[in-house]
Amino acid sequence: MATNPAPKPVPQHASTAAGGLAEAHPERPSGLLRWLLTTNHKEIGTLYLIFSLTMFFIGGVFAMVVRAELFQPGLQLVQPEFFNQMTTMHGLIMVFGAVMPAFVGLANWMVPLQIGAPDMALPRLNNFSFWLLPVAFTLLLSTLLMPGGGPNFGWTFYAPLSTTYAPPSTTFFILSLHIAGISSILGAINIIATILNLRAPGMRMMDMPLFVWTWLITAFLLIAVMPVLAGVVTMMLMDINFGTSFFNAAGGGDPVLFQHLFWFFGHPEVYIMILPAFGIVSAIIPTFARKRLFGYASMVYATAAIAILSFLVWAHHMFVVGLPLVAELFFMYCTMLIAVPTGVKVFNWITTLFRGSISFEPPMLFALAFVVLFTIGGFSGLMLAIAPADFQYHDTYFVVAHFHYVLVPGAVFAIMAGVYYWLPKWTGHYPHERLAQWHFWLSVVGVNLTFFPMHFSGLAGMPRRIPDYALQFADFNLVSSLGAFLFGASQLLFVAVVVLCVRGGRQAPAQAWEHAEDLEWSVPSPAPLHTFETPPTFERPAH
């Protein structure tokens, strides 16, 4: 069985040969205080991942409420006011609470291990940026209980629905977004500082694993756009509370300006949620194809190209807002261009598979599903880029199908692939193969049942963000809801696999996957609390 290779004799760079997460450090506080005060990148990474999983389930429950209401026409379970809060919260929690923290968690765990650093560059800052998150999201969730309810204006919170016409709790929503934003920014600074300064001697930039590269570029994106988000919500705050009129036409402001500013943040944000996924998949596919990644350098350039282009395409979210012809053309062309570097990535992955020696362990299954389903999301993205056609697609379920294809079997599958890939390193055990297989197949079926019919309901004319719909959309919605329940329930299996894996399972050697190449596989499994205290010497793979 491919998952049980004989451990290769690899240099052990850990300071402690045995032990792992469970081992208590002599000088450190124990119990809850230990987790509250920890500055260890592995422990903080674990905290991020647990937080993210929690948010994934809370956001998931909101999605289940939405799908349950949409199960059939008519209003059965919730009122439109609450429905709008559910769609909004689902989006906000999944974007800012689940996907982004999951990638930060993976970065915390893996970036130091992959570049041979003893820890993150700024360990105490690291602790602070994590603990901001529970504060931010407790605050955000508490708005649901406030008079007038929580945010109900969609995760894109377009003014003036989110300012003049917003519920009183909006000020708290803004505050929580500020806190979450600061957390992301601090995380990004830390990651950049770590990658730029703490690489093992001999490791050049172009030697870094792609996960490190994609995260470096992601961190630059975060630093560039999170302050813009902070600026936008600050302007909202001032419009709501201090009588300014940034977005209020009545005072000489412009609601469309909000959308320009939001999407100037929002489009790079979309890539913030997908670039690290590219990095994970680029690590997994070569490992299980037993063949080096094809076109490493072009992968790096493609990632950078996508990041740069992401600043020039924001108004493709606004094709029907009344842009002049020149603007429509400019944003259409730039958006179409993104297909080129994205295509290069997909071609590189497939060429890596070509003439490889492929096995199908759970991480590989998720990575392969990522390639296929993300590409489908890319195709619908290309269709959406065509401005005249977007007049028909915009704000319909076609868009919902598109971005869920790139974010669920895209970002989320990549995160799960990463978790299955690195669980042996984290826990010292392989995840339960059979259960993980079930989790994978149920998720794939569930995801496609949920989101594929949405293409049709959108094309047939169903607008997004509606709690009730006309009868011709009933069949599509029925299938989508059933798929969503299946997908939602299958994620309990994921929790089961992770919990079982932490508690026991087949022992994993340091080199848990036979052909895995990066530095993390040179430390024991489970990785001891302190690794690479003396920097390893990086050896370039022979060409």
């Binding site: 500082a193 630093i223 002049p324």
Partner: protein
């Protein structure tokens, strides 16, 4: 909190500090940039006609002759926003003008409420490619207006379509939406007399 990991070499630590300061500088810059985008956007809109915005200050008449060969329809629409007891009227729904020809159109502001109040007429132009060719020589939309209870006032709009208006534009629509000026209704009551004096 921003002290680097003490285990690191001195070289790495100073590198980390440098990275942090550069990042912080970038952050501050981007935050400022977000606010700078607000005026930049206005300038950009006025230059390109994005979003049907027109200049919010008076422009000089251009004396480069009238293009007698073309007639363009200019439509006027007046609308009332909520919360202001005013009616905005226009003497004619549309005029046919030659590009280059300065034209005057009378608008009527009518306060039907029982109190003095402040309002503002917010302009918008469609199609957007026409907006940078619509030159407003005199417009009530540049200023906030104050009307006494029951007051009715006629204010003209003087405008000119520039001669380089794209040839495929045959109809230009100009919409004015009336909005109350927040916070000026009550607090400015005391100044009523002096302001009336000024206006007279």
């Amino acid at each position: 909190m921003t002290t680097p990991d003490p285990q690191l070499s001195r070289e790495s630590r100073s590198g980390v500090r440098r990275t942090v300061w550069r990042s912080v500088a970038a952050l501050v810059g981007m935050f400022a940039f977000a606010f700078a985008l607000v005026p930049l956007y206005d300038v950009f809109c006025q230059v390109t006609g994005l979003n049907g915005k027109v200049s919010n200050s008076a422009q000089a008449v251009m004396h480069d002759g009238v293009d007698q060969s073309r007639l363009v329809t200019v439509q006027f629409i007046t609308r009332s926003g909520s919360g202001l007891h005013w009616q905005l009227g226009v003497e004619t729904r549309q005029v046919r003008v030659h590009p280059g020809q300065p034209t005057e159109v009378g608008f009527t502001f009518d306060n039907q409420g029982s109190e003095a109040s402040w309002g503002r007429a917010v302009p918008s132009v469609s199609p957007s490619q026409a907006s940078q060719h619509l030159r407003k020589i005199s417009c009530f939309c540049f200023d906030e207006q104050r009307l006494a209870a029951g007051e009715r006032r006629e204010i003209p709009l003087v405008f000119q379509l520039s001669r380089d208006l794209p040839s495929d534009v045959n109809t230009v629509t100009l919409v004015y939406t009336l909005y109350p000026v927040e916070g000026r209704e009550a607090s400015q009551q005391a100044n009523t007399r002096s302001l009336q004096g000024e206006e007279a």
